[in-house]
């Protein structure tokens, strides 16, 4: 604990220094009010100040006022030292902002007692400040936690709402899509007859405008069919995606061999894999089985692989590496790609339904959110990180059969 002695009388200054040092305090001495103020307002001010009332430049009272007026960040404990013992003077000193006072000539025991009070006050304040700080930290942590939870809740709520809506919407869309594609097929079936008639008709047509118009129709109609076909196909893909939100579709659970699962999933992706992808497999043998619905597991793997293929195709060619690992708790399946990777911004929304970085029509934005639902349903987790291959790394971790059998949510 450091004590500043602001005293213009040399003898009193020396006396105070000796006494305080004898009592175990560190001392600093100045001979005028201005130097005292400067020292107090610097970075690490002394904790206790003995201020003489009468001093050159700034008197003790003024120093007290300046400190209390808010110019000092950490105000020290101020003890006014004065020869004026009148009650009026004492009140004046307290009003100026002194914490205590000692009258000159001072009694040693009294001085020590008053300095000790000061020390106690300083220590108390310090511990208060510290606990305030820790309360503030705690409050901030709780706030962050609450915010995170709120975000999660909003997300979960959105997911479950989508889940409920999705099943309904999927069914509602089914019928109109069916009669659009059905009617389209009827048109396509009729088209050869219509085309032939129109062609014959065009050949004999005398009027140029009418002929051009017919030629135009002959040329455009197949494209129109194709356009509608594409549209219905896209709707179907979305509906299919939405349907997987309705849980009841999958109630056949079995023990699944992870390596077989991967082979089957790759089989499904073969037509996408054979052109631009160099496929590497690092499969660990004797991997324990996982428990759940095979189609759902397959869906997750196919999803990861097709995402990787999409990422690679944007760049031309590349590598996909599939790795399996296991420990006593679970089985991990990793799919690495050498694509462009995932931006920090995209990472945040990766599992939000309908979020996609793919071109319109290419992705539904449902793949990863469905995959996450599936993996979590089986008590597993999905991890996303950067791949050593340069692109993205997606991992699905499932509990092994012995740990999780029957624990499917």
């Amino acid at each position: 604990m450091r004590v500043l002695i602001a005293e213009d009388d040399r003898i009193s200054q020396r006396l105070l220094e000796r006494l305080l040092e004898y009592w175990g305090y560190e001392t600093l001495s100045v001979s005028d009010g201005e130097s005292a103020l400067q020292l107090i307002q610097q970075g690490s001010p002394p904790e206790i100040v003995l201020l003489d009332w009468m001093m050159p430049k700034l008197d003790g009272l003024t120093v007290c006022r300046r400190i209390r007026s808010g110019e000092t960040v950490i105000p020290p404990y101020l003890i006014l030292v004065t020869a004026r013992g009148e009650a009026e003077d004492i009140v004046k000193g307290f009003e100026a902002g002194a914490d205590d006072y000692v009258t000159k000539p001072f009694n040693r025991e009294e001085l020590l007692a008053r300095i000790k009070v000061g020390q106690r006050m300083v220590e108390l304040e310090a511990s208060l400040a510290e606990s305030n700080q820790s309360y503030a930290d705690f409050a901030r942590r709780m706030e962050n936690l609450a915010e995170d939870r709120a975000k999660q809740l909003v997300h979960a709520d959105r997911m479950s709402t989508i889940g409920i809506l999705a099943a309904g919407i999927a069914h509602e869309i089914n019928n109109p899509t069916t009669f659009i594609s059905g009617n389209l097929q009827f048109l396509e079936d009729c088209w050869p007859t219509v085309r032939e008639t129109l062609q014959q008709n065009t050949e004999t047509e005398q009027d140029d405008t009418a002929r051009h118009q017919r030629e135009f129709i002959l040329e455009e109609f197949p494209k129109v069919f194709q356009g509608i076909r594409k549209g219905t196909k896209r709707i179907r893909t979305i509906v299919q995606g939405l349907k997987t939100y309705s849980r009841d579709d999958y109630d056949v659970y079995e023990e699944v061999d992870v390596n077989e699962l991967i082979e089957q999933a790759l089989e499904l992706c073969m037509n996408r894999l054979k052109y631009s992808v160099n496929l590497e497999k690092d499969i660990s043998a004797n991997i324990p089985k996982i428990y759940g619905n095979l189609q759902q597991f397959e869906q997750v793997i196919v999803n990861f692989v097709l995402n990787a293929v999409d990422a690679i195709e944007d760049q031309g060619e590349g590598t996909i590496r599939i790795t399996t690992e296991h420990d006593s708790f679970g089985v991990s399946i990793w799919i690495d790609d050498s694509g462009p990777g995932i931006s920090k911004k995209a990472k945040e929304d990766l599992f939000t339904p309908f979020f996609t970085t793919k071109e319109p029509g290419k992705g539904t934005g449902l793949g990863l959110s469905i995959s996450k639902n599936i993996v979590e349903k089986y008590g597993g987790s999905i991890e996303v990180s950067n791949s050593p291959l340069g692109g993205a790394r997606f991992g699905a971790r499932f509990p092994v059969v012995s740990n999780k059998k029957g624990a499917v949510k």
Partner: protein
């Protein structure tokens, strides 16, 4: 000969679309908007194939299926559903549908295939019965009358 198809769906657009398709293929098509109407139609005429939706107001497609299996066992039934659930598929299978086709379908390949298979099956039995007639078995059953006409 012209084969008859009964199309049962509560949605007019689906009935029209399917009807148009099968008429174009040369079938005689009757639309029905629900199970009750379908049973009335079946009571009046013989249909080789019934194509029915599962989820409909009133009588469900699977209930209609059961009725048909009991009353008109020679009619083949093909179920169509937009509610792709295990429950629907199992009900269709257990109650004796030829197949269950899930909506939305991209083209008619599966449906056409199912109808053709049903017709083929009927043709097969028709041939068998003609063969039987040639053998002069002594008596013809009512089922035989229904098929060969």
């Amino acid at each position: 000969m012209t084969y008859r198809i009964l199309i049962v769906d509560d949605e007019a657009e689906i009935r029209e679309m399917l009807g148009r398709h099968f008429r174009m293929k040369g079938y005689e098509v009757t639309p029905a908007s629900g199970g009750a109407e379908a049973l009335q139609c079946l009571d009046k005429k013989r249909y080789e194939v019934v194509v029915s939706d599962i989820v409909m107001p009133g009588m469900k497609g699977t209930e209609l299926l059961q009725e048909i299996r009991q009353q008109y066992p020679m009619s083949h039934v093909i179920m169509i559903t937009g509610y792709v659930t295990l429950e629907n598929a199992l009900a269709a299978m257990r109650r004796g549908a030829d197949t269950c086709i899930f909506k939305p379908f991209e083209d008619f390949e599966e449906l056409d295939g199912a109808v053709e298979k049903a017709i083929e099956d009927l043709e097969h039995w028709k041939r068998k019965l003609v063969q039987l007639q040639g053998m002069k078995p002594g008596q013809g059953g009512s089922e035989h009358d229904r098929i060969v006409e």
